[in-house]
């Protein structure tokens, strides 16, 4: 057993971190939130060049994957830099179409996967278990919809008005009804369920990155902000809150890596591992957000402070692609004989 990122995986994360640090993502996020997708799409291209989507796409379709560990590394970096866009949803669509191909419906995969892996298309999804909205449909080339009950896969013919989220960079909308069915029946049902697992997994990774960014920025602030003649980071109440934030994040990471390994091995228990990682990472990210806001005080409560870009995201990811209650119910299976 070697349960640790290898040198290349670590380097992949560092490369993305460096690239995204240089990309001034706060400005990109603010533009995206205002409906100006240009800067975000430029980042998207560079992420694709770095292989972020290729590691999701199977080799048969020109990708390098699926490589869940690499995907996890990438999404932690994406969360850490608050990169906007239908990132999770594009990977979810990749999983959906890949699985559908394995179940005998290869046409959509052949049409879409090479372009998705190369970053030449962005798509979003609305799956029955993931709520009524599709993320960033206004920036996507297609919206894949799987309805409950019938389990029909179709391409939405458009989307309703954008519904702002507590995370201003998440632009939600309802897919329009209608559109040609691409496939249906048990294969779609199975593929949608499979894809929902990848959605939860990448959401968890993104949440861990969000939590890490919040903690890093808050520690830096607590070291420099002084009140009562001392850095506020020297007050025990502040110290202990920040220590708790680290504790949550530090023990979410191995769960996420465990889920990645389970996904890679195709183990039947992967769903429970993903659910455990989702609960732990999203709880840790939200706790880090609460701590970040409290330690920053009023300045952290302003839209002008960059910290705000991560605060709303930590809240939104909690319920995205698997509520805490649903994930806990699933995680119980880990130790259920």
């Amino acid at each position: 057993m070697r349960f640790l990122l290898d040198t290349e995986q670590t380097a992949f994360g560092h490369t993305l971190d460096r690239m995204l640090s240089a990309a001034d993502t706060p400005a990109v996020v603010r533009a995206w939130a205002a409906g100006n997708h240009g800067p975000g799409l430029a980042v998207w291209e560079r992420l694709a060049d770095a292989g972020v989507f290729a590691v999701a796409v199977p080799r048969a379709y020109g990708g390098m994957g699926p490589l869940p560990v690499e995907l996890c590394v990438a999404f932690v970096a994406l969360g850490r830099h608050a990169v906007p866009g239908p990132l999770v949803e594009t990977v979810t669509a990749v999983a959906l179409l890949s699985r559908l191909a394995e179940r005998g419906e290869p046409a959509p995969a052949e049409e879409w996967l090479p372009r998705l892996g190369a970053g030449k298309a962005r798509v979003t999804v609305a799956l029955a278990d993931g709520g009524p909205y599709a993320l960033d449909a206004d920036a996507a080339d297609a919206t894949f919809v799987v309805t409950g009950g019938h389990h029909a896969l179709r391409l939405a013919t458009g989307h309703g008005p954008v519904q702002p989220s507590l995370d201003p960079a998440r632009r939600l909308s309802r897919p329009l009804t209608g559109g040609e069915p691409l496939a249906g029946g048990p294969a779609v049902r199975d593929a949608a369920s499979y894809a929902t697992g990848w959605a939860a997994f990448t959401t968890a990774a993104q949440a861990l990155g969000v939590g890490l960014a919040l903690l890093e920025r808050t520690v830096a602030y607590a070291r420099t902000r002084t009140q009562f003649g001392a850095a506020i980071g020297s007050f025990q109440a502040v110290k202990h809150r920040l220590a708790d934030a680290l504790l949550g994040l530090e023990f979410a990471r191995p769960l996420l890596h465990g889920a990645a390994v389970a996904l890679a091995s195709g183990a039947p228990g992967a769903g429970a591992e993903i659910a455990a990682a989702k609960v732990a990472a999203c709880d840790a990210a939200y706790a880090a957000a609460r701590t970040a806001l409290q330690v920053h005080g009023a300045i952290g409560y302003t839209a002008e402070c960059d910290v705000s870009l991560w605060l709303g995201k930590a809240r939104a990811l909690r319920s995205a692609w698997g509520t805490p209650a649903a994930c806990r119910a699933r995680a119980l299976e880990l130790f259920d004989q």
Partner: protein, 391 residues
């Protein structure tokens, strides 16, 4: 010991309920953190005031009804139960007015309070500065003596609603040679449109300009607008601080009403088999009821001549954490709709929770952070030794 309202209290409740039923706007007003919403809320203050409902616990001379704290609690229960608008005048009513009642001159009371009660003058507080948040005593903005008054210089921040308000009140360092940081301060009132005042709106998390920075460049304040003795502003302001933390800023009616709405939301939206969520809804109910009963205790104690004292710190921590937990629960009840901002098209039926949630996030920070309050509780109520706050 009882929970029986007198016939007079019941009649008052009935009168308030009837008036509110007839006057509360059917369509919710726009957010008071926007220019147009601010104007709508100011108009609502005028409506309240016209029938003497804006400040029921004040003397009738200033537009009130001479009602007791208990009756004020009753009014607030009815107010929030009726779904009435947020109170844009609250910073003046809850922070400045108690100070004027205690330290203001008769002339100041007569001049300031009726206009506050009617919504003609909306007040903003000007306490914090960039380097003086929790550590309020380290204020740097100054008041320099000049003929007939003071010239204010410096910068204030986190001035709630100052983007649209008329006047502000705050502390300025007027006696720089005082021997301790919290001495030598003076409590003044000044117009936000005066010469030398620059108001820079600051957007809160949801993008609304809920507060502002104030840049003050030789702003003249006449002696008539100094509250209490010059140089004694800290102790003048501290009477306000107690009020800010106590039940009068955030009345129990606000939370009992929100908890009732949460129960309704749970019935309408929740997975009813999720008893974990039900437990959290129940906790909000239990805590709202506890706060309500605790305020009845306070009202009884006050009616018998007692004082709230450091208990206001307990109250502030309690309501701010209740408010946050209640709204976090509501968002979880809403599931995939929980992340919708209140501007979302799907939000009218659901979205008031998002603005409430955003507002609740600030509760543990403003009016003295909960960390400071816990220090005060430990030191003043439990008698633990003071320290340096460092670990």
């Amino acid at each position: 010991m009882d929970l029986d309202f007198t016939a007079a209290e019941d009649a008052f409740r009935h009168e308030a309920r009837t008036w509110l039923a007839a006057h509360v706007p059917r369509t919710p007003l726009r957010s008071l953190e926007t220019a147009e919403g601010f104007a709508e809320h100011r108009a609502w203050e005028r409506t309240l005031s016209a029938d003497r409902w804006s400040v029921v616990s004040w003397p009738s001379a200033y537009g009130g009804r001479d009602r007791s704290l208990l009756e004020w609690l009753v009014f607030e229960e009815e107010y929030y139960a009726a779904g009435a608008p947020a109170r844009v005048a609250q910073n003046g009513i809850h922070l400045l007015a108690p100070t004027l009642f205690e330290h203001g001159s008769a002339e100041q009371c007569a001049r300031v309070l009726p206009a506050m009660a009617s919504g003609a003058t909306i007040w903003a507080q000007a306490w914090s500065e960039p380097e003086a948040g929790s550590d309020l005593a380290s204020l740097r903005s100054v008041g320099v003596r000049t003929a007939g008054g003071w010239l204010l210089r410096g910068q204030k921040t986190w001035s709630s609603r100052a983007a649209f308000a008329d006047r502000a009140f705050g502390l300025f360092r007027t006696h720089p040679d005082a021997d301790r940081p919290h001495r030598g301060l003076t409590y003044v009132m000044f117009p936000l449109d005066a010469d030398g005042v620059t108001v820079r709106p600051v957007r809160r998390l949801d993008g609304k300009p809920a507060f502002a920075e104030l840049f003050l460049d030789d702003v003249f304040v006449p002696d008539a607008d100094v509250v209490g003795e010059p140089g004694r502003g800290w102790s003048v302001a501290m009477s306000t601080a107690g009020n800010e933390r106590g039940p009068t800023l955030r009345s129990p009616g606000r939370f009992t009403s929100a908890a009732r709405r949460l129960v309704g939301l749970w019935h309408a939206h929740a997975d009813r088999d999720d008893t974990g969520l039900r437990d959290r809804v129940a906790d909000a109910v239990i805590r709202a009821r506890a706060y309500q009963l605790s305020a009845y205790e306070d009202a009884t104690r006050l009616a018998e001549g007692g004082a709230p004292g450091a208990k206001s710190s307990l109250t502030k921590v309690f309501w701010s954490e209740l408010d946050l937990a209640l709204h976090e629960t509501a968002l979880d009840v809403l599931g995939p709709y929980g992340e919708l901002a209140d501007g979302a098209g799907d939000a009218p039926a659901r979205g008031a929770w998002a603005e409430g949630y955003t507002f609740s996030l600030a509760g543990p920070i403003y009016a003295g952070t909960n960390e400071i309050q816990r220090d005060i509780i430990a030191e003043r109520l439990l008698g633990l030794p003071r320290g340096t706050r460092r670990a």
